[in-house]
C-alpha cells in the first residue's frame, strides 16, 4: 500500500500536457498498488494550477511555494523537494523526461539514495508490487526492464507521448496543501532566459513532426515544411545532414546526437534513414517517408511510403490537408 507521486511541470503559467499524461498513468498505477495518485507543483504563485490535475485522477496536490523558485534552479528544486518527498513518502515518484526533469531528477534520486529509470516508455506494476519500467537503450536498438528493489521512492522519468492523456472526469476535486519552503543554497544562478524564436511545441514533446533532410537543398526551402506544419499543427525537424549543411539550426536536429522524439506521427522528407537518424525517431507511432529513391532504408521503417520528389509532394500535401481539415 503506497502512493504514486508525480512532479507536475508548468511553463508560462500553464500546466504542460505531459503533466496530464503523467497524472493519468499515475492514477492507473496507484489503483494497482492500492494507494492514491498525488502531485507536487513547484514555483512561485502557482496555486491556481492545482485544480487542473484532479480530472486526471490526482487526489492530492502539494504546492511547493517560494519566491526564489520563480525560475528553474537545479539545487533549488532538489533542496525543496527532498524534504517534501520524504514527508509524503510515496512508493513511486514520476516526472517527465523534459530538460528540467532530466536535469534535477537524477540529482534528487542521489540525494534520496534511491534508483531512477531514465526515459521510460512503459510502466507496469510487477507481481511483487514493484514498479517495472521499460526503457530503450543503445539509442532504441534494444529494450530493457528496470526495477528498483530495495529503495524508496522508485523513481522514473517518462518520455513524452508514451501513454497519452486519459479521459478527464469532470467535477473531480483534489485536496490542495500549500507549503512554503526554504530553497537552501542554490549555488548556480540563472542570469537570463533567452526565449527561442519559435513558440512551437518543442520537438521532444511534439505530437506531429515533419522533418527535412539533405534533399531540402537550402535553408529557404524549409518554408514548404513550415507551411505544411502550420496546417497540421506540427513541429519541424531536420536530419544531421541538413543541419551540417546549414539548412537548419542544431536545435531542430533529430537523432543520436540531436533530439530523441516520440510523436504519434513522424514524416520524413528526403531523409535516407541512417541508423543515427532512426535513433532519434524510431519510437514514433506512425512513420511516413517520402523519398526519390525506392531503395532508401527509411522505407523499411515507414508505415506509409511514397516514392517521389518532395518538392512536388509537400505542396500537394499541404493543399490536401488544408482542404480536408477545413471541411
Amino acid at each position: 500500500m503506497g502512493n504514486v507521486l508525480i512532479f507536475a511541470e508548468h511553463q508560462d503559467g500553464k500546466l504542460k500536457k505531459t503533466s496530464l499524461e503523467l497524472a493519468s498513468k499515475a492514477s492507473e498505477l496507484a489503483g494497482k498498488i492500492g494507494g492514491i495518485a498525488e502531485a507536487v507543483l513547484i514555483g512561485n504563485n502557482i496555486d491556481a494550477l492545482a485544480n487542473e490535475l484532479a480530472p486526471y485522477g490526482i487526489k492530492k496536490v502539494t504546492v511547493v511555494h517560494s519566491p526564489k523558485l520563480e525560475k528553474y534552479n537545479t539545487l533549488g528544486y532538489v533542496n525543496a523537494l527532498a524534504g517534501i518527498v520524504k514527508e509524503l513518502n510515496p512508493d513511486i515518484f514520476l516526472a517527465t523526461a523534459s530538460p528540467a526533469g532530466k536535469d534535477f531528477f537524477p540529482r534528487l534520486a542521489a540525494r534520496l539514495d534511491t534508483g531512477l529509470a531514465s526515459d521510460a516508455v512503459d510502466l507496469k506494476i510487477d507481481g511483487d508490487g514493484k514498479l517495472l519500467a521499460t526503457r530503450p537503450i543503445y539509442s532504441g536498438k534494444a529494450l530493457v526492464d528496470l526495477k528498483i528493489p530495495n529503495s524508496k521512492p522508485q523513481m522514473a522519468l517518462i518520455r513524452p507521448n508514451s501513454f497519452g492523456v486519459g479521459a478527464a472526469q469532470a467535477g473531480a476535486t483534489a485536496e490542495v496543501v500549500k507549503k512554503d519552503v526554504d530553497v537552501g543554497d542554490m549555488k548556480a544562478e540563472m542570469k537570463e532566459f533567452v526565449k527561442g524564436a519559435s513558440d512551437k511545441v518543442d520537438l521532444t514533446e511534439a505530437e506531429i513532426i515533419v522533418s527535412g533532410g539533405r534533399a531540402m537543398k537550402e535553408a529557404a526551402n524549409f518554408k514548404i515544411l513550415q507551411d505544411l506544419a502550420d496546417v497540421i499543427g506540427a513541429t519541424v525537424g531536420a536530419s544531421r545532414a541538413a543541419v551540417d549543411s546549414g539548412y537548419a539550426p542544431h536545435e531542430m536536429q533529430v537523432g543520436q546526437t540531436g533530439k530523441v522524439v516520440n510523436p504519434k506521427l513522424y514524416m520524413a522528407f528526403g531523409i535516407s534513414g541512417a541508423i543515427q537518424h532512426l535513433a532519434g525517431m524510431r519510437t514514433s507511432k506512425v512513420i511516413v517517408a517520402v523519398n526519390k529513391d525506392p531503395e532508401a532504408p527509411i522505407f523499411q521503417k515507414a508505415d506509409y511510403g511514397i516514392v517521389g520528389d518532395l518538392f512536388e509532394i509537400v505542396p500537394l500535401l499541404t493543399a490536401e490537408f488544408k482542404k480536408v481539415l477545413g471541411e
Partner: protein
C-alpha cells in the same frame, strides 16, 4: 587549474546490438568501442580550458573494464595530460555506484572543474553527471552549449524547451556537454605517439565506491518488436497524396 574530464567507452553508433538469448545483457562479440560522442565534446572543452588558463592540467578519468584504456589513450592523444582508469572489475555498476566512485576520486585529487558528456550512448542514462555533482555538493550545468570561465566563475548556456538558460556558477563545478558546444579536434599523429608515454594510474572500483550498493536491477534485455511492414503508396503524385491523407486520418487516425 586542475581539470578533469569523465569519459566512458561505449559501442560505436554503427554497431549492431545483439542481446543474449537469456536476456541477461548485450552480446559483447563483434562490438566496436569508441569514446562517446558527447564525451568528445567534453574532452575538447577541457583542453580548450587548459589552453586558456596557463599552468592548467587535464586528467581524463574512465571507469570501466580493462578495455576502457583504449578510450583513455584516445583522450590522451587528443591532448589530455594524464589519466586515471578505475577498473570496474567487470561489475558493470549502475549510475549511482559509478557516480559515488567518480565523486570520491574527484574529491581525493582536488579537481576544480569537471567536464562530462550530457549522456553516455550505451544505456542513455544521463544520470552520472548530476549524481557526481550531488555527491560532491557542486553546482552542475547540463546540456551546455556555450561556456566562459573567468575569475573563479563560469557562465554557461543550456538549451531547454522554449529557449536558452544562462547560468552563472562559482567553481568548482561540473558541466555536462552538448554537441553544439565545440568541434572536437582529431588526434594528431604526434599526439598518438605521445599518448603512449603519458601516465595512466589504475584504481579499483571496489576500493573507491565505499559502501555504495547498486540501486537498480536490469533484466530482460531484448530487441524492440519488429514493426509490421509498411505500405508503399502507388500512383501519380496527386493520387499518392490523396491516399496518404486518407490513410493517416481513417486508418492510422493520427490527424
Amino acid at each position: 587549474m586542475k581539470i578533469a574530464v569523465l569519459v566512458k567507452q561505449v559501442p560505436d553508433t554503427e554497431t549492431k546490438i545483439k542481446t543474449k538469448a537469456d536476456g541477461s545483457g548485450i552480446e559483447a562479440d563483434g562490438v566496436k568501442y569508441i569514446v562517446g560522442p558527447y564525451d568528445e565534446n567534453a574532452i575538447e572543452e577541457a583542453i580548450k580550458t587548459k589552453e586558456k588558463n596557463a599552468g592548467s592540467e587535464v586528467t581524463v578519468i574512465s571507469l570501466g573494464p580493462v578495455r576502457s584504456v583504449e578510450a583513455i589513450r584516445t583522450a590522451l592523444a587528443m591532448g589530455c595530460d594524464k589519466a586515471i582508469h578505475i577498473d570496474d572489475e567487470n561489475s558493470n555498476p549502475d549510475a549511482y555506484v559509478t557516480a559515488k566512485a567518480l565523486a570520491k576520486v574527484i574529491a581525493d585529487k582536488g579537481f576544480e572543474i569537471v567536464f562530462t558528456g550530457k549522456q553516455a550512448i550505451d544505456q542513455d542514462n544521463s544520470q552520472v553527471t548530476q549524481q557526481v555533482a550531488e555527491f560532491l555538493g557542486w553546482p552542475q550545468v547540463m546540456l551546455v552549449e556555450k561556456l566562459e570561465i573567468a575569475g573563479g566563475k563560469a557562465t554557461a548556456t543550456r538549451r531547454v524547451s522554449g529557449g536558452k538558460e544562462v547560468y552563472e556558477v562559482p567553481l568548482p563545478a561540473i558541466f555536462g556537454c552538448e554537441k553544439g558546444l565545440n568541434t572536437p579536434r582529431y588526434a594528431s599523429l604526434p599526439g598518438i605517439m605521445k599518448a603512449k608515454t603519458k601516465p595512466v594510474e589504475t584504481l579499483k572500483l571496489s576500493a573507491e565506491k565505499g559502501d555504495a550498493q547498486p540501486k537498480v536491477v536490469l533484466s530482460n534485455f531484448r530487441l524492440p518488436p519488429e514493426k509490421a511492414p509498411g505500405r508503399m503508396i502507388a500512383g501519380d503524385a496527386a493520387a499518392q497524396v490523396k491516399e496518404l491523407v486518407r490513410a493517416l486520418r481513417e486508418e492510422a487516425k493520427v490527424i
